[in-house]
């Protein structure tokens, strides 16, 4: 007679499938049955995710602008005077082999003077008389794949013979690197804090739905349901709440961003050299982030809120 009196040590696959089906059935059913509470939970998920999403977009854009600046940084490598063309071209090849070097461009002294002329514009008369004996050296313009490696690259370059001096905006670069580093770390911390706050808010909302169903939990426990079995439907429900919330937030924020970035690009704002991160580059990471966080806060939130009622 005792069909279920002993729990099997090994887990039967068919039992697992059946249980999962029960969780999904109950999870969906509960979501549907408690429409008011579900709406309230989804709304709080959306509110929390909106804050995270907007913050994320700001961070991504600042980071985007910073990386753009970083990639524009170049090193000037000044050469000794009167080097033959063969030496110069072999030097160029050697520089290219240094790691983190993206591109090398030779600038002859004549070209350098011309550039300076152009740069100074109206004040170029100051350079008059230098044509005869150009004091500017030949040089290479070196761009880097990874600006944070500028120091090592500079050292490596200095050891190459016939190089007079390596010049780059060390301080400016360091400041920029430091700023982007701080930005990345602090945004990670702030997003983590926001996630915790969201978990707290959502677990409180779900707690209300759990409280409304404490009788059900109580009966389940009396009949001999395991803790995991009681949690199951709530976790499925939390997952659904989280995913629905993140879907709605992604749609709203995505559409808003698409509209705004188009507006900025197309209107006169485009003149201000303000470039937002392209929609396509942003939307996939935004979807992934919101989906993950939504799922996480749904699952963790329901897990926490069931905890108290499960101890019967």
């Amino acid at each position: 007679m005792e069909i279920l009196s002993e729990m099997k040590g090994e887990v039967d696959i068919s039992v697992k499938i059946r249980t999962t089906k029960f969780f999904i059935k109950e999870g969906f059913g509960n979501l549907h049955k408690n429409k008011t509470m579900s709406t309230a939970s989804i709304s709080s998920v959306i509110a929390a995710l909106l804050v995270i999403a907007i913050f994320f977009i700001i961070v991504m854009n600042v980071d985007y602008a910073a990386s753009k600046l970083e990639s524009q940084i170049e090193m000037m490598v000044y050469l000794k005077d009167d080097l033959s063309e063969t030496i110069v071209s072999s030097m160029s090849k050697e520089i290219k082999t240094v790691s983190a070097v993206k591109d090398v461009q030779f600038v002859s002294k004549a070209q350098a003077l011309k550039d300076l002329n152009d740069k100074w514009g109206d004040n170029a008369y100051l350079l008059e008389g230098l044509e005869g004996e150009n004091p500017l050296p030949d040089s290479f313009k070196v761009t880097l794949t990874d600006p944070s490696k500028a120091d090592t690259v500079a050292l490596a370059l200095a050891s190459i013979s016939n190089i007079e001096r390596v010049v780059y905006g060390k301080e400016e670069l360091d400041k920029l690197l430091k700023a982007t580093y701080i930005l990345r770390i602090s945004s990670l911390i702030i997003i983590t804090i926001l996630v915790f706050i969201s978990v707290f808010i959502i677990s409180n909302t779900i707690k209300l739905t759990v409280y409304a169903r404490r009788r059900e939990i109580n009966i389940m426990k009396y009949v001999g349901a395991t803790d995991w079995f009681v949690r199951g439907p709530f976790i499925v429900e939390g997952m659904l709440l989280g995913l629905l919330g993140s879907l709605i937030t992604t749609l709203v924020v995505g559409a808003g961003y698409y509209y705004c970035s188009n507006l900025i690009q197309n209107q006169m704002l485009g003149l201000l050299s303000v470039t937002l991160m392209p929609f396509k580059a942003l939307i996939s990471s935004l979807t992934l982030l919101l989906g993950t966080i939504g799922l996480l806060i749904g699952v963790v939130g329901s897990f926490l809120s069931v905890r108290k009622f499960i101890k019967v």
């Binding site: 069909i3 009949v223 001999g224």
Partner: protein, 231 residues
């Protein structure tokens, strides 16, 4: 088999719920736990369900020490017992059938088993025709019968009832008792806490009386009051 050996239980507020209680209940017995409210009847039931922990002494169910069970083993213990409460504890948004099936679903029974057992239980309690109705469409007696079907659907070896007739009129109460008797005849141990004296007197079963946490009487075929008391 249920064995209590020198069980003590004191609540945080200092109230002594059970004082050195020893009691043996054999398989297949029918036992009434009687006594005033707060005497300790419900405490015994809660200790058996491991809803409460005892302070000292031993509580064995089928030779297993309940105190030593891990949290993860509590479901195994509870599946040995069917529980019936005074307030029925039915889920209002589920039908009669679903309420009974729910007890099987949560212990991960297959749909095949559910479809076989639930109608059997409903016919045993005489509610086959009301399987699609909701609890609020039923009388109190009928609701209690649903909860008995739910308690018995997983074939427990012990049926525990805490004041099952407390909310019912005498006629309905008697129907419930006939059902309990029937269940007991089929071999299930029945332990029922009550202060319904008419029922206890009429059933002529074993009576264990508790007063202030002490067992003061244990009679084979007793009445609600002891014979040597003058009432």
């Amino acid at each position: 088999m249920i064995q209590l050996k020198n069980v003590n239980k004191k609540f945080a507020n200092g109230h002594v719920a059970l004082n050195d209680v020893s009691l043996d209940i054999e398989n297949g017995e029918f036992v009434f736990l009687v006594g005033t409210s707060g005497a300790g009847k419900s405490t015994i039931i809660k200790l058996m369900m491991k809803e409460l922990e005892l302070d000292s002494g031993k509580l064995l169910i089928d030779d297993k020490d309940v105190a030593k069970l891990k949290r993860s083993q509590i479901p195994i213990l509870r599946r040995k017992m069917g529980v019936v409460f005074q307030d029925f504890r039915l889920l209002q948004d589920k039908t009669v059938y679903e309420n009974v099936a729910f007890a099987m679903e949560v212990v991960e029974a297959s749909q095949k088993e559910i479809r076989r057992h639930v109608p059997m239980m409903l016919s045993m309690v005489g509610l086959s025709k009301k399987s699609k109705q909701y609890p609020n469409q039923l009388s109190g007696g009928e609701q209690q019968r649903v909860s008995i079907a739910r308690a018995m659907v997983n074939s427990p070896s012990i049926l525990v009832a805490d004041e099952p007739t407390g909310n019912l009129d005498p006629e309905m109460s008697w129907e419930i008792m006939k059902l309990f008797n029937e269940i007991n005849q089929k071999g299930t141990t029945v332990l029922m806490a009550t202060h319904d004296l008419t029922i206890v007197d009429r059933m002529k079963k074993r009576v264990v009386e508790i007063s202030d946490g002490n067992i003061i009487r244990d009679e084979r075929r007793g009445g609600y009051f002891s014979e040597n008391q003058n009432h």
